[in-house]
Every structure is written in C-alpha cells, then in structure tokens.
C-alpha cells in the first residue's frame, strides 16, 4: 500500500463518524475516480471475518466496524445494555423507512393505533427527521429517516434496505390498490389544522 492509501485507512480509523468519499477527495485534493480504486483496495485489505473488524460503507461514507459474529464477546466489554426496539417502534420505523415522506396520520392508518408516543421516542433518539409539511388540509408534518438511522442499521443508503415482501394472498386484481390508494388516505382529512399545529409542540413537551 502506498502512503496515500495508508493515510486514508488511518483517517477512516481515527474519524468519529463515517468519512465520505467527497470529504476524502477534498482532504487529498483529488477526484472521486482517483480514490475509488484506493477504497476498493482498502475494502479488500479489511474484509469481513478476517481481522476482527472490516471496512464498511455506511450512510454514504466509510467506517471500521467489528464483525457482527463477534458480538457475544463485544457485549462483555460494553457497560451499557444493548439497545432494543419495541415491536411498535420497529414497525413504525419500518413504515417510515419505506414510505417516507409520511405523515403521522398515514402511519396511524397503517398501524391502526395512535403513534404519537412512538414517534416522539424515535425523534428523540435521532432516528427520524422532519422533512416538511404535506400540502394537504391541516398541513401535517412529514417524517423521514435520519442519517443516524442508516448508521444504526449499517446501511450504505436507503436503497440498501431489504426489499419489501409482497403478501399477495388475495385476488391479484386488488393488488395495485396496495400501492396506490393509501397515499391520500381518509384519516388524513380528519387531521384538523389545530392538531397539526399542536403536533410539534406535543412532541416536544
């Protein structure tokens, strides 16, 4: 490995968060096409299940992470208990990840239950971002996933999410409705303007 290659590895090692290709280009004053082969060389040099850790592509950047199969040992070292999602939080997060931007009304229609508490928890933990307001009556907030979400689940971008499985145990003629209809759903209309204005406040309280 030449010096630049080693320097990049060292930088990725020393950085607090994933280092993007653009950032590396800026630091080394060269083009993306210059650095791509260097990165692949490093990925070959630090593969999964060889040296205990590997070079992962995370949230549009690069980061060293421990091999997932070694977690039983690593848990011994960490003092905090591993973070666990509740089923409700996971479900809500999945809906937002796959359907973003999505409003609280849409999430609640899909889940069939009030989701304010779960949304607040996810926002507080930094998994969500407010993407803006939907241009429908009441102007409800639209939610999407954050960069932290990608880092947490070790995804390089949203397209790396596992594909949504279709459950088509029903008449195929009904299937298109699965994807189209629910965008402008009825519960949306029930969201009054006041509710939406209160939404951000109640979430912060």
């Amino acid at each position: 490995m030449d010096e630049r290659c080693r320097a990049i590895a060292a930088l990725i090692f020393a950085a607090g968060s994933p280092l993007s290709l653009d950032r590396l280009c800026q630091l080394f004053d060269c083009s993306r096409s210059d650095l791509r082969p260097v990165i692949s060389q490093l990925q070959e040099f630090y593969p999964l299940k060889q040296g205990g850790f590997y070079l992962a592509e995370i949230a549009g950047g690069y980061q060293f992470r421990t091999d997932p199969d070694l977690s039983p040992w690593l848990v011994l070292l960490s003092r905090e208990r591993p973070f666990r999602f509740s089923q409700a939080a996971l479900e809500t997060l999945a809906m937002i990840a796959y359907r973003q931007p999505v409003t609280r009304g849409e999430i609640e229609y899909l889940r069939g239950v009030d989701s304010g508490g779960v949304l607040k928890t996810l926002l507080d933990k930094g998994f969500l971002r407010i993407l803006g307001k939907k241009d429908v009556p009441g102007r409800p907030l639209m939610y999407g996933t954050s960069r932290h979400f990608l880092e947490f689940f070790g995804l390089k971008d949203l397209s790396a999410l596992p594909t949504l499985k279709e459950f088509s145990a029903l008449d195929p003629a009904l299937d298109p409705l699965l994807d189209s209809g629910s965008g402008q759903i009825e519960s949306e209309k029930n969201l009054s303007a006041q509710q939406s204005a209160d939404e951000i406040e109640t979430l912060i309280e």
């Binding site: 090692f13 950085a15 607090g16 968060s17 280092l19 950032r23 800026q26 980061q63 060293f64 992470r65 421990t66 091999d67 997932p68 977690s71 690593l74 848990v75 960490s78 591993p82 973070f83 666990r84 089923q87 409700a88 996971l90 479900e91 997060l93 999945a94 809906m95 990840a97 796959y98 899909l110 889940r111 069939g112 239950v113 926002l123 969500l128 971002r129 407010i130 954050s146 960069r147 932290h148 947490f152 689940f153 070790g154 995804l155 999410l161 596992p162 949504l164 499985k165 279709e166 459950f167 088509s168 145990a169 029903l170 008449d171 009904l174 409705l177 699965l178 209809g181 951000i200 912060i204």
Partner: protein, 255 residues
Amino acid sequence: MSIAISLDNFDGPLDLLLHLIKTNEMDISDIQMVEITAQYLAIIDQMKQLNLDVAGEFLLMAATLIHIKSRMLLPVIEEFDADEEELDPRAELVRRLLEYQRYKDAANRLDLLPCLKRDVFLRQFVEPDNDAVGTEDDVNVGIYQLAAAFHQLLKQTKIDFVHEVVREQLSVADFVHKILDQLNRCGQQSFSDLFLSSGSRQEMVVTFLAMLELVKMRMIKISQSVEFQPIWLSLAVSSAALGPECLDEGALGYG
C-alpha cells in the same frame, strides 16, 4: 374454544386480527366474518371482565367488524353501483391487513440487520475538547432539534407576572440585522448565546423567528459537532454581500 390472549402482546387491532386469522388457518382474502367477529369480541369481553382498559382502537375495530358482518348479511342490490364500489365489504379490511403484514415483516427484517451496539461495535471515540465549527462532518441540525432547544430555553426563562399591557413592536427585520451584526463581529455564536441579551419572552420568540428567516434565506449556517453538544450559528455568505437594503419587514412577510 377458549382463547387466552393478552392484548398487551398485540401491537394493535390489526395485529390481533392477523393473529386470529392465522390461528384459524383462514384464507386472508376470504375471512369468515362471523367466526372472526365472534372470537374478536370474546377477547374484548374477556379483557373487560378482567377490568382492564381496552384501548379505543380495539373497540373501533370491533365496530368495524360488526359493520362488515352486517353488510354481508344484506342482499346485494345489483342495479346500484355494481362495479364502481367494491362489492366485497371486506376488501378494505383485507387490504389494510395485507399492508400491515408487509410492514410487520419489514420490521422483523430490520431487526435482523447488524445493529450498532448490539451486533456491531465502533471504536469508542473520544471527542477532542474543542467546539470548533465548520468542519464537514458536522451533524445537520433539523427543525426538531432547533425547536426542542428553543423550548428548553423558554422553560429556563422566568416569566414576569406584571399586569401592565404595553404593546411592544418588535421587528423581525431588526433582529435579523442584529444577528447578522453579531455574527459579523464574532464569526460564530452558539444558539443559546443568541438569546442572552433577550429580556422578554417576546424578544426571544422574535429572535428565534429572525434566526429561522436567516436559515431560510441561506444566509447563516447552523451546525453541531456532535449530537447534544451546543448548536453553532455562522455566516453562510461573505459579510460584503450583506446589504441592509435587502431586508425589511415587508420582504419577510411580517409587515
């Protein structure tokens, strides 16, 4: 058939319904409404007997089930809305159940991904003790973080109970200039310092509005080196480009 189910195990009425359909080995597109409704209501009843609060959502679903069941008992009048409307009263419910099942499955698969601090670990990174701003790795501050930080500040300020009604004319444009001046002088400023000179709640609110306006006009940049660390404000344009003429009340829409 006795059903021993605790509602706590279910994430909502759709979850419970899916469970019932599965345990009864029914075809999801051909739900036997009589059977399912009876079982669903039995569970709700059981909960009531145990003096447990049944969440409104579960009752709403009970009503929906009964409504669908009753519609299926009525003869279909062929002449009216034969093909416009869905003929099967269960269609909407089936669609929701399938959609819900999709995300439930997606949630389970999310949980299988290598999660931080559970399956995959990072080097414990000790943040160097400086609050330097302007690096590329700064965490982007979202509107939620800004609003939460502002709410925190408002809570800290004590409210004066003085019953003198004075109409104060605070101008967002004035505060926009004030912030720009301050940033021009100091280069950068922390979010909480911005409000140090604000005497009243109104002043704080107007300062906050002015700051949001500046962000909207892309004249200042807001960043944070690490989550939960101070939020920093800095100029996003060169100070020469800041002509006072570009900003007045009218242009900001507060006039």
